[in-house]
Symmetry: C2
Subunit: 382 residues, 2 copies
């Protein structure tokens, strides 16, 4: 059984590692010949809009999925209509997850609070949008943003007008799909909720996660999120259930939420496995990767409950890996290198600490964060 | 970093799945082009004594290991002397693990009880050996036996003489490396102990496992083995420490022991990862596969303590897999298909149940054993 995957990054790689024990082989399409998933299974190198490459990707497969939301929707529609494969999640979920406006409209329609926002194209529209929403605010590209790219924060003050001009120039360079201005939400923390929905409509929701970012990039996720009020927990679960149903979703969906201290505001969704769910590999009974594979192939879902002691913290390694020897000496730590070349701001691996108490796990995670950068080379490609 | 592995079966496949997150790619040598490890990483197809294939296997690698003990010792010596790679574990450990006589002599030298035995070559020698040891006894080939092959049990009675003649003809067909006759040990159960030793001499011992066989093939392993007396536990740990030190061993070593109700008798050792350690993937903090990779590459060992609730049971799937849908619906069960074609007596996968109580885990394991055979096809190769 072959599962075709658009994209060959670390998410695809971890999907393939989870798929193998289920008797499922993956095949990837990626423009980059060094895409890290290619170390684990067959990589078709090609563009996402190359029909020949797409045909090679799905040869012998009944299902195709994607590891990131910036795959062209037209590609997934073509695959569904002309290549005889099911695209899961459905292209409509992909289209919604690609566009911050559609996303917010959907969230609001389902009764979830969203930050106040305006859309804009021209500089004049942007100026009007910022004036309407008010500073502090965040200007984002409607499409193609990730890991803090494609967004600019604006603060109130005498330099606001100049900052709008600069931001417009920066964000529209080679990009024409429009901007969105969001009022800054004074959140206490960011939470995320991940859930899987099977082809038969069954849903598995993972415990809520608390996320910390640095420079717009996820740095640490703690699961279960500490001190979540039962009403907040229930609101998040109800919301993800509503989203999954509304999108007739198949696969894993991640939703980022701002916690304002008892009230939730929806930030974004990702129609795919998500960085804030990497802890599930060791920290849950069935990981987000295995559950995504199970879901898209029409298999029953696995148990999303916590395992491994009941607490987990995931730390991203950004730009470079810590020294491998030192890392592997830490007890209770599971290392994950992605086989990528280090570069500033690039996610090259993560580590997950599991344990029986939040304080113990926090302390171990702190030791991981404090590790010296990698003196040894541990890319998979050498 | 490339790790070369002699053999491309399910053990090699699980080594590769454990190696990937450490940034380590594996490359395998196997005569079978359909060897299941080839689904995960590069497979060199060739004979174990083909110098060209061996050169391709170790290109760019500093270390070569093996996934089974029937690799020719001469191959590992040649690799060490002529191909510039370290063979780990050392060829001497391999030579000992291949030969039931050398194994028993080593065990006895280290003060461990072994079954009474005699070696034999000709039929006359075999008759004398059986007379000396007494029936019931087991005749085994000194070399190349596995999963119940290469052995015959003899019972006392009027048909003993004829049975010896038949056994000799059967066991020496195309095989000349000698036989060994072992007195049958009236054991209460079989235990195994797995341990890893690092290149720097550190040792990690996994909790003792209780094993049940059917038709000479491992059917179920329970970890930790129930009701092990502290003295038995200590004797097993001391013995595996002594073995590792004596062999200057690097990697994972498995030792099968007969438990006579408080007294241990050593059965066999396997100088490699072992079927009775498959539960460690989900049931321990660091699996036997990851610890073998860590050990042979000179990295620090991981924690062999129980994880995932403290109890684990592994069930082998022999000849065919259970129905995938039904299996995946069972809570707490982790499925492992090897991507092999089903055939009577062939290990095609295993499932591991983890949980917080022995009775719960036993009950779940019983449900796995009772599953109907696979109506769906789930080889990885289709």
């Amino acid at each position: 059984m072959v599962l075709a995957i658009l994209g060959g990054g670390q998410l695809a790689r971890m999907l393939a590692l989870a798929a193998a024990p289920l008797g499922v082989r993956c095949r990837f399409l990626d423009p980059d010949p060094a895409a890290p998933a290619g170390h684990i299974a067959e990589l078709v190198q090609g563009a996402y809009d190359d029909p020949h490459a797409l045909q090679r990707l799905v040869a012998g497969a009944k299902v195709v999925t994607f590891e990131f939301e910036n795959v062209p929707v037209a590609t997934t529609e073509w695959l569904q209509q002309h290549a005889g494969v099911q695209v899961r999640p459905h292209p409509r979920a992909l289209a919604t997850g690609q566009d911050r406006l559609l996303e917010k409209q959907l969230f609001a329609r389902l009764g979830m609070a969203v930050p106040e926002y305006r859309i804009a194209g021209t500089l004049a529209e942007l100026q009007a949008a910022v004036a309407a929403v008010g500073a502090p605010c965040i200007i984002k590209t409607r499409r193609l943003g990730y890991d803090g790219r494609g967004q600019v924060r604006l603060r109130p003050g005498p330099e606001l007008d100049a900052a709008i001009v600069t931001a417009h120039a920066e964000l529209t360079r080679g990009y024409t799909a429009g901007l969105i201005v969001e009022r800054f939400v004074p959140f206490r923390r960011e939470l995320s909720v991940l859930a899987a929905r099977s082809a038969h409509g069954a849903v598995a929701v993972y415990p809520l996660v608390e996320n910390e970012h640095e420079g717009g990039i996820l740095r640490r996720s703690r699961a279960p999120a500490p001190a979540v009020a039962p009403a907040v927990q229930q609101a998040a679960i109800d919301f993800v259930h509503a989203l999954l149903r509304e999108l007739d979703y198949i696969g894993v969906l991640a939703v980022e939420l701002f916690d304002l201290g008892g009230q939730l505001v929806a930030n974004e969704m990702a129609p795919r496995v998500h960085n804030s769910g990497h802890w599930t590999i060791e920290g849950s009974m069935c990981s987000q990767f295995e559950n995504h594979v199970r879901a898209v192939l029409g298999l029953p879902l696995g148990d999303p409950a916590m395992a491994g002691g009941g607490h987990a913290t995931m730390i991203n390694h950004i730009g470079q890996l810590p020294d491998r020897e030192t890392l592997l000496r830490l007890p209770g730590v599971h290392a994950h290198a992605y086989g990528k070349t280090g570069r500033a701001g690039r996610k090259v691996g993560h580590s997950t600490v599991v344990g029986t108490g939040r304080e113990l796990v926090d302390a171990a995670a702190q030791r991981v964060i404090a590790l010296p950068p990698g003196a040894t080379d541990w890319p998979a490609g050498s």
